[in-house]
């Protein structure tokens, strides 16, 4: 179920003195099973773009197709679109409202109009998908949980809709390293085992470099760069000029190259860089 975006332009408050162009002629195709890392500086239009993909925002110009359905047309069932494309907002724990975790997760499936049995089944499954235990959390108030747990419950609330595409807006923002790792592990699991298409918005290069199969870079409402992480992280200067960086491992590798060490220029994961440095060290150590 590919997503196709064509010439998408969005202007906030058009025709008023406060009008601002958030997206400018963006075209993009996302194939099934990809894990897209959507990168960009604050205000680059990432959030605006993903809010178009499930019909929360209407384009000022341009078309969007999800699964061959043009969702920008009039009269399209938005609930159908939102079933297919699940969107997890930034700091999703702030949208919890029900008395118990189970009820909160059931909110989405209930809105679709599923049977009680089906809903219960989905709630159980979603809790498990986010790495929590049903018996531990289901009957507790979401407001008693820790920050990381609340976020997982919120994500479960979207997963319970069984979307085919999952969009996460800065899923690791404000979490401690353990919380971050477990969220990232969960995303990897959903993508690899669940076969979900995932779009992850982030400006943390280290998070995204190990996960994404393809990166999409935005700046000032335009799409400036797209490619595999390896291709994208080669463009250090371009990334820095738009207020982004490259993963720390890649930065280290580039610094070593600048110092005259003989390393490949396209390394970006910690593992790769470590292996390259070790290989270099062994080579240098031998002669004497």
């Amino acid at each position: 179920m590919p997503i196709k975006v064509e010439h998408l332009t969005h202007t906030y408050m058009p025709g008023s003195p406060f009008a601002s162009v958030a997206l400018n002629d963006v075209s993009l195709t996302i194939e099934d099973g990809e894990l897209i890392g959507l990168l960009g500086h604050t205000g680059s239009g990432k959030t605006t773009l993903v809010q178009h993909l499930n019909g929360l925002l209407k384009p000022t110009q341009g078309q969007i197709w999800v699964d061959d359905l043009e969702i920008t047309q009039k009269g399209v069932s938005l609930i159908e679109v939102r079933r297919k494309v699940g969107l997890v907002f930034q700091y999703p724990e702030y949208q919890l409202f029900e008395e118990t975790v189970a009820k909160d997760i059931a909110f989405g499936p209930k809105n679709i109009g599923l049977s009680t049995e089906e809903i219960n089944q989905r709630v159980r499954e979603a809790i498990q998908q986010v790495g929590l235990h049903y018996d531990d959390v289901a009957e507790r108030s979401p407001f008693e949980l820790s920050g990381g747990q609340m976020r997982r419950v919120a994500i479960a609330g979207v997963l319970a809709m069984r979307p085919k595409v999952l969009i996460l807006d800065e899923p690791t923002a404000g979490l401690d390293p353990a919380g971050r790792r477990s969220i990232l592990g969960m995303i990897r699991q959903l993508h690899e085992a669940g076969g979900m298409t995932v779009i992850m918005v982030s400006h943390n290069m280290d998070d995204i470099s190990t996960l994404a199969t393809r990166l999409v870079v935005m700046s000032k409402g335009r799409l400036v760069l797209t490619g595999t992480p390896r291709e994208v992280f080669m463009q250090q200067e371009l990334l820095q000029s738009i207020g982004l960086g490259i993963p720390q491992a890649a930065e280290l590798a580039h610094a070593l190259i600048a110092e005259g060490f003989d390393l490949p220029a396209d390394l970006y994961t910690q593992e790769e860089v470590m292996q390259a440095i070790l290989a270099l060290a062994k080579k240098e150590a031998k002669p004497c």
Binding site: M13, R82, Y94, F107, N111
Partner: protein, 268 residues
């Protein structure tokens, strides 16, 4: 959606009217209101009109902006006009049909009261159009200070107003975000009968209240961390001072009031 709501109607600017001390503007607005109530006959609304034109010109505003402020009152205006027109008692009757009658005095009163309403709203909106909400709060705080002796919490009142104003845009943004997040989970805020719609607000209101309380707690903590302990002995960053501009504005406005009183006495 909610983003399109603009708060208040303040139009930033640096005109002489903008630069007036907010206290002056509040007090002179009261003088202006007195002026309106002293007008005895519709013809003499010419004087407040001249005064309004002067203010609007000096403030760099347009009459469209004033009309926009009057617009929400149009039904009230029409009602006032019609009630006065048909139900005033008068001796010179021009037209009668059942209990409805139009008399010369009725027409006179209808015009008089409608004008009064229009001028009141137009004049007071010049105050809110040219004074930022924060400056307005500052002005009100100082003007209410004498009431402290009667244990009236003027500082607390002003602080509450300032904080409320400060957080309205934040909460609107937050509400917009939560609404979208719930819509992404299939929530429907727009259809159904009243009961259904009210129920649909729960997923919006609960998180909004939770976050408002959290913010309030954080803010209180941040204020205490900076040693806030109420208005006692507190100095200000921007000290309000009366200047020459305030003197001129007062002279013109009070002059206008006297002129209106004079016309009322002289021509009646």
């Amino acid at each position: 959606m909610l983003r399109d709501i603009t708060l208040g109607q303040y139009m930033p600017g640096s005109s002489p009217v903008h630069r007036l001390d907010p206290r002056t503007k509040i007090l002179l607005t009261m003088v202006y209101i007195a002026m309106i109530f002293c007008v005895r006959s519709p013809i003499w609304y010419i004087l407040p009109l001249l005064y309004l034109v002067l203010c609007v010109r000096l403030a760099g505003l347009t009459f469209q902006q004033l009309l926009k402020a009057i617009k929400p009152l149009r039904f009230l205006l029409i009602l006032t006009f019609l009630l006065n027109l048909f139900f005033s008692s008068g001796t010179t009757i021009w037209f009668q049909w059942g209990i409805l009658r139009i008399s010369q005095e009725g027409v006179f009163t209808a015009i008089h009261f409608s004008m009064r309403l229009i001028f009141l709203v137009a004049g007071t909106s010049i105050l809110t159009l040219t004074t930022s909400p924060i400056a307005l709060c500052d002005g009100i705080e100082i003007l209410l200070k004498p009431l402290n002796r009667l244990r009236f919490p003027s500082h607390e009142l002003a602080m509450m107003m300032t904080i409320a104003l400060r957080f309205i845009p934040t909460l609107i943004e937050e509400a917009d975000k939560i609404m979208k997040a719930q819509m992404a989970r299939g929530a429907d805020f727009e259809s159904g009968n009243l009961m259904k719609r009210a129920k649909a607000m729960v997923p919006l209101l609960v998180p909004l209240f939770v976050s408002a309380f959290r913010r309030a707690g954080d803010l209180a903590m941040a204020m205490e961390a900076r040693c806030y302990h109420g208005g006692e002995g507190r100095t200000r960053l921007r000290v309000l001072r009366f200047g020459q501009l305030d003197l001129w504005a007062t002279l013109i406005t009070v002059g206008g009031l006297l002129l209106v009183i004079f016309t009322g006495v002289w021509f009646s």
